[in-house]
Amino acid sequence: MTVHNEAFREDIKTHEAGAGRYFVIYVLLLILTFGTFGVAKLPMSEPMHLAAALLIAACKATLVVLFFMHLLEAEGANRAVFLVSIFFVGVMFFFILVDTAHRFPLTNPQDSTTVNLPGGNPVYSNGPHDPFGEPTPGK
């Protein structure tokens, strides 16, 4: 581990890259924006649409983060902070979506389309009638 902490390094590079770099990134972002707009028009299945849109958005995001926010030439600590926060966003997504996907189909909201289980949906695919004959609760 470095004996001196990174704040003491004398040789912190002062980047003097030209302003042109930003215009290149800007143009790339615009291309990607219209790209995602176009891809949305293509006739594809809904999950494919979702995946494509997220992929393009992720590309745009990495461009912004690396160049506009200077994470490319930032110290290790800043990069670590960004990557750790993305990791924990992933953890949150993963566990919650796994849970909602594998839930007992009737525990999802009443009239939601339930994910079809590999073993097929049980008898009440969309919630049995209301045997108590009472109006649905709430507003």
Binding site: F104, L106, T107, N108, P109, Q110, D111, L117, G119, G120, N121, P122, V123, Y124, S125, N126, G127, P128, H129, D130, P131, F132, G133, E134, P135, T136, P137, G138
Partner: protein, 272 residues
């Protein structure tokens, strides 16, 4: 008891008896498919697997029976399930375990495990609607002494004129013979049948489809039929619609229990 055993215990056996449990701000209500409702006391036959489909009317409650070491939250607007098999008769305390307001600590109920025949006599008493034998825990008037929901459904279907278009007996219908066909599809074996719609897509005829077709029939018309059915929106109340669906479910040519539950395929080791 590790996770694998937990899953085998937690998966309700195929032939379990369904009972609906409704948590309501500070009381528990129970409804049996055979018709009777009861408040505050859950009657269960001994040595029979029972599956509780638990829901709540307002906030989250939790159906907790310390004696069975069993607990499951009651979440509004959806059903959670838990299954158990009572091995000895007796009355066991039910408590509400999820905080639900002022009288959360008084939201108690009882599981009354009865012998097989005591349970059957109790069911028959309830069905005959004998008021004084009716289980009257809770506010009076809460529980309407209703007969078997299916017979109720038959009465409502006759009154509302459903049977003018839908047949309820196994009429000898030749496929594609328009004159022979009634105006609407037959109700026999309709429940859980894969029906082909006029739009070409095939759907599973379950409660949602049945209730939806009552309310706005022209949305999903069965292939080979004209969309002439009038909408019963506002004409049928909730319980009446529910009763009709229950009646349709009871019209089975082979009178077999509803199709077994396709939970994850684990073979239980040996039942407790």
């Amino acid at each position: 008891m590790g996770y694998r055993d937990y899953v085998t215990i937690e998966t309700p056996p195929a032939d379990s008896m369904d009972i609906y449990v409704m948590g309501k701000q500070w009381m528990w209500k129970f409804a049996y498919p055979q018709g009777p409702n009861s408040v505050g006391v859950l009657h269960v036959p001994v040595n029979r697997p029972v599956r509780l489909l638990i829901t709540s009317r307002d906030v989250i409650h939790s159906f907790y029976v310390p004696a069975f070491r069993m607990k499951q939250d009651a979440v509004p607007n959806r059903y959670t399930q838990i299954s158990f098999t009572a091995t000895e008769t007796g009355r066991f305390q039910v408590l509400c375990a999820e905080y639900c307001g002022t009288n959360h600590s008084k939201m108690w109920a009882e599981v009354d495990v009865m012998t097989e025949d005591a349970f059957d006599t109790w069911i028959k008493d309830q069905q005959r609607g004998l008021a004084h034998r009716q289980d009257m825990g809770g506010a009076p008037g809460e529980v309407a002494p209703v007969a078997d929901m299916a017979t109720e459904g038959q009465k409502v279907a006759a009154e509302k004129g459903c049977l003018r278009c839908h047949t309820v007996d196994k009429a000898p219908m030749l496929a594609g013979a328009p004159s022979e066909q009634h105006i609407g599809p037959t109700w026999v074996d309709l429940y859980q049948r894969k029906t082909k719609l006029s739009s070409g897509e095939t759907i599973l005829a379950d409660e949602a489809y049945l209730t939806e077709s009552m309310m706005d029939p022209t949305v999903k018309v069965v292939q080979g039929y004209q969309p002439v059915m009038p909408s019963y929106q506002g004409n049928l109340t909730g319980p009446e619609a529910a009763a009709i669906v229950e009646y349709i479910k009871s019209l089975r040519s082979d009178r077999v229990q509803t199709t077994p539950l396709q939970g994850p395929t684990y073979e239980p080791i040996t039942n407790r």
